[in-house]
């Protein structure tokens, strides 16, 4: 566990010292602010809860995109620059390396998401928001971000370059988002399977409306664990190849 935290701390320091992290954070905040102003607050009069739900909807899309870009460098960059050898020649297991990398990414994402908090708080100027709605929405964003970040970490272990890692991860996340659209064009039992697999739709909607279902929490945790487990296996296999 010590090694995991050590790797996570170093990696988080890299996000905070490099331009990439700040650029991704700035873009997320910029686009999220625009969407919030144009679609969530703008247009017809809405209830505060509806504004908040729309804010979480737009932020969820940006969270997935940010996760893909934040995770692309995690292991692909280490392979690209050869620094992975430092980790691989140290008495540290593959699981500790992957977990440390993932923790740094999700911590940075949480920091960026915390910076979006001013937008829902602006709703308080002319309306009311339930603290529970806020908590549920942000928990949903974190869980969705965690699943996307884990998929991104897997993509980063598979690819030799950061660009390839981003492409792999984006393809995997997009496929899991699009599974929701397949629900509409398929019949039972396939539409049930696609609905259960979809990373957004059925599993995120309740969070954006202010409801927490254990089923959805478990789904995101399982996706995160499976993706991280696959990343660890890829790392282990690399020692044999």
């Amino acid at each position: 566990m010590n090694a995991t935290l050590l790797i996570a701390r170093r990696e988080l320091g890299t996000y905070l010292r490099s331009m990439t992290g700040y650029i991704i954070a700035a873009l997320l905040l910029l686009v999220d602010g625009l969407l919030f102003n144009i679609f969530a607050i703008g247009g017809d009069d809405k209830l505060s809860a509806q504004v908040l739900a729309q804010f979480f909807f737009y932020t969820s899309g940006l969270t997935m995109i940010a996760s893909v870009f934040l995770s692309m460098r995690l292991l692909a960059e280490e392979r690209q620059t050869g620094t992975i050898v430092l980790l691989m020649s140290s008495p540290v297991g593959e699981a500790e390396i992957v977990l440390g990398k993932f923790l740094s990414g999700i911590t940075f994402l949480a920091m960026v998401l915390a910076l979006t908090l001013f937008m829902p708080l602006l709703v308080l100027v002319n309306g009311k928001i339930a603290p529970g709605h806020l908590v549920a929405g942000y928990l949903g964003l974190l869980l969705l971000g965690s699943a996307a970040m884990a998929i991104g970490t897997l993509g980063s272990t598979l690819a030799r370059t950061q660009v390839l890692a981003a492409i792999f991860s984006a393809c995997m996340v997009t496929a899991m988002v699009l599974a929701w659209m397949l629900v509409k064009v398929t019949e039972r039992p396939f539409n049930d399977v696609f609905a259960s697999l979809a990373i957004h739709g059925k599993h995120f909607m309740p969070f954006q409306e202010g409801t927490i279902h254990v089923r959805d929490v478990v789904y995101y945790l399982v996706v995160t664990m499976v993706a991280l487990f696959a990343a660890v296996r890829v790392m282990e296999v690399r020692r044999w190849r």
Partner: protein, 332 residues
Amino acid sequence: MIQVKGITKYYGEHAAIRDLTFDIDEGEVIGFLGLNGAGKSTTLKILGCVLLPTSGEVRVDGIDTAAAPEEVRRRIGFLPDTPPLYNEMTVGRYLAFAARLRGVAPGDVADRVASAEERTSLRTEHDELIGTLSHGYRQRVGVAQALVHRPKLLIFDEPTSGLDPKQIVEMRSTIRGLRGDHTILVSSHILSEISQTCDRLLIIQAGEIVDQGSEEDLAARLSPGRSVTIEVDVAGPPDVALTILGRVPGVIDASLLSRAGELSSLQVSAATDLRAPIARALVLGGVDLVRIDRAAGRLEDIFLQLTQGLGPGPGAGSQSRQDRQGQSEGPQ
């Protein structure tokens, strides 16, 4: 310290190394010599527990690398051909990170970092960003990260690669300074590096160890009966010196190579390395000895013979390998 038994590594269909077997004793400084693509880096990565062999067994300090890789990695400091450096970190922070990663207790980290910086002459670069350092200093940081946790075994893959002559001398001196405290395995295709730094050579070609031993052993085995060439520079006319040289027991032939002003350059062929008796005879004979040295190129000859099949031939190479395997299997 290291027992390697029949390791083979395949990358897809291609065998990078084949059935390697060798032992390294504690405290030895071993030179791992081979042309590019011979399988040096793959072998060192396996010894450094970065890669696992397709088959075969590696034991470091009695521990099987496949069964307990993390235990083995605690005992190893590994510098790959490209130093694994984080450009955005300072030297001090990077070394502290490497030390913590290798299990050094938090209270000991500062001492270990200071000690590693001292040994690699990096004290003044402690607060420098690694990204701003020159190639030579980056290589030193690479060496420092390998020894910061005081491992028993140090593995350096081409540590002088890309360095200028001054930096090569400094790196050689750094590696010599580590002798005694660690078992050291250095790979290189720069022959003089290996010759001047190591106790024993392992010569690898096309993924196989084609021979091993000290430079003297290899020369004796590969060119039995071949003379040793010694170069002698003396001040003044060569006649007296040539006469004296002809009387030294063991000298086969002595001849004048060139004359430049007062300096005469002579070449002596002898059965063995007779530099000491030759120098003594010349000085006692009243000749002003300016320089005496063995002719360069001996190790290069050995290396080329072994790696280009100019030497004893594949039969002899495989015979000697089988002999060694037989010997190494004996005591086990």
